[in-house]
Symmetry: C2
Subunit: 382 residues, 2 copies
């Protein structure tokens, strides 16, 4: 394996864009990425698309060559990767593997989702297909309901409170307000977060990530061929688990996250204490709390007090989701895993503007699929 760098990054703003279609968003991000890397479309030798449900959201399938060819990336392997909300993470993991092994020289990874053209009811139904439809789905469980059960059990088992959940929302909204590309740039108070409209008890609208349109792209190249300012991929690990919560011994745990983190730490020769900043998958506030535990940032069950302590804030010792996270930056499902990488790189290059942090040598991204059946953990280093 040879060292691989994130040689370029590009993102669209996240939000509701009735005038932009899926392919247009993907190409906007990809072109920004190639310009950032100083690489032409014709130099790209493999194309990896993260997309969860384009066929359901916009009615177009076979999306990888559909986007690649329009971008001017022709003749090379162009494949769509689907792993629910970790689709872009899975695409990234396979692209990294291909460049690390020398199979490819310039792998373009694009993540995209166009969600807001559907009604909320339809979006909820499409997202529910990332869970066990014949089991959980038939029982009426939407994704907010699944994570509500997880949150309720975490509260029961560990004493986690509504205030702990709300602390994640307040922090991520504060960060997102500083991110010009975030979907919802709105600072909220603890009082507002606690008084949010209920979605699935104990989760309110402020505990749920946003339904967004958007795209993100990264170019992976051998480190010695990328510009010096760019971080390297120190590790990348993808793991899997059962879809259905009922198959788990403990629904407050995310074994796929713990396993991916363990493998990534081992590959990088690092531990949780070495991580300077992280972008984690806060599809719901409880997911960020559990991520803190599974990534080893705090002990099991202590995620609530950990996030409430302020340590993961912009000024804290371990900033988490400085981008605003899925909660405030937005969550175009198939784009999220690559967007996390882009946001880490912005920080590590010192280009994060008003939300720039000082200690930024080692960054970690954690991308989750469904209620934990897929996880991808990536560690970047200067």
């Amino acid at each position: 394996m040879r060292p691989v760098a994130v040689a370029g990054i590009g993102k669209t703003s996240f939000g509701a864009f009735p005038d932009k279609d899926l392919r247009g968003l993907a190409i906007e991000a990809a072109q920004a990425c190639l310009a950032d890397a100083g690489v032409l479309p014709g130099q790209v030798d493999s194309f990896y698309l993260g997309n969860f449900a384009g066929p359901s959201f916009v009615g177009q399938n076979h999306l990888a060559p559909y986007i690649a060819a329009e971008l001017g990336v022709l003749g090379v392997p162009a494949t769509r990767f689907e792993a629910a909300c970790a689709s872009a993470g899975a695409a990234f993991a396979h692209a990294w593997s291909a460049v690390a092994s020398g199979m490819h020289e310039a792998a373009l990874v694009v993540g995209v989702e166009k969600m807001t053209s559907q009604t909320t009811a339809k979006v909820t139904e499409i997202l529910a297909a990332a869970g066990d439809v014949q089991g959980e789905g038939k029982a009426g469980a939407t994704f907010p309901a699944l994570f509500a059960m997880i949150a309720r059990r975490h509260m029961y088992q560990y004493g986690t409170t509504r205030e702990h959940l709300a602390a994640v929302a307040v922090k991520n909204h504060a960060n997102g307000a500083l991110n010009p590309q975030a979907h919802m740039r709105k600072v909220i108070t603890m009082e507002q977060a606690l008084a949010g409209k209920p979605v699935a008890e104990p989760l309110t609208v402020y505990d749920c990530s946003l339904v967004s349109d958007g795209a993100a792209a990264v170019l992976l190249m051998a480190a010695d061929r990328a510009k010096a300012r760019n971080p390297r991929v120190l590790a990348c690990a993808q793991t899997s688990d059962h879809l259905a919560l009922e198959r788990k011994a403990d629904i407050t745990s995310l074994p796929a996250v713990r396993l991916a983190a363990e493998r990534a730490y081992k590959m990088a020769g690092l531990g949780p204490d070495d991580i300077d900043l992280a972008e984690v998958h806060d599809c719901f506030t409880i997911a960020e709390i559990i991520a803190m535990e599974e990534l080893g940032f705090c002990a099991r069950g202590q995620g609530g007090p950990y996030v409430a302590s302020g340590v993961t804030g912009l000024g804290g010792a371990k900033p988490v989701n400085t981008s605003g996270g899925l909660k405030s930056k937005g969550h175009p499902v198939g784009a999220t895993g690559v967007a996390q990488i882009c946001d880490l790189v912005l920080q590590m290059r010192g280009e994060a503007g008003a939300r720039q942090i000082a200690k930024k040598r080692i960054g970690l991204a954690q991308n989750l699929g469904g209620s934990g059946a897929t996880c991808v953990v990536t560690i970047l280093g200067a």
Copy 2:
């Protein structure tokens, strides 16, 4: 790169199976494959799923861990690959790359599609999403219509006849009748093929592949760890092109096929004359005729007379689709690319029963996505 072998194969029968669900089919094929290889689920270290449109056909997404976990393959990367009708080919290509590079030791590739639970109209609509929906789709072009235009132009440009098209159908039905796992085991005469019910002029029902349920699986391992009877992967190349026919200079050509074949021949150090047998993507009879040309088996425009000469029959010098092809074996879209590999391996091991051929040292599989936007060409050798 190290040599990789197809260490095990497994297939379900193809057909209409109202009592079998998507996951059950996938697991049946995977278990047969692991038993064939003598490998346990716990030894599989990466899982590659080819599936075109499970979410649309059966309403379940996030299919890779959904299947893998139930099979007992847990914790490892489990990803769904989508590239239209070449979804399984794309999954195979990425799995081969991962084992060849040493990233993984035992890569299980499963292809599956469950199509017959939908109405024909709905199936046609789902398949059409593999083409350019905003262009061709809005103009009303289904896939039979797209390939009918290609056939009509091939007839005009090269003098290809209805009899040439029918010769493909007659041959593939004769072969499929000898395949106990084929969907339609029915010998047809030239007269029957010519008198088929029209679907899209000049294509009749006998020119169109079948809508099927089914799954296929292969296990890829380093060649020195696989049983000696198993063939090696000498080459694998995936390519891409525009989705829309209108973006092509000549709709009778499939540039992605030619490019993939050129790359695969180069990688294997072989040429078209070295191929003993081939499984090619006869989604429509015209597609097999053009495949003959793009793979270099005959000159451009000569595919019609070439197939009519009998050279590609079971007793010919270059047997093509000894399995019966998509026409008679069936075409569960996401399974096809892996099923082709299984069928080559059966012949190369001498286990093809009544359809066994004698000269079987080098086999080629060609898997096409859409009307040519994706192609995967794989060459196996003893």
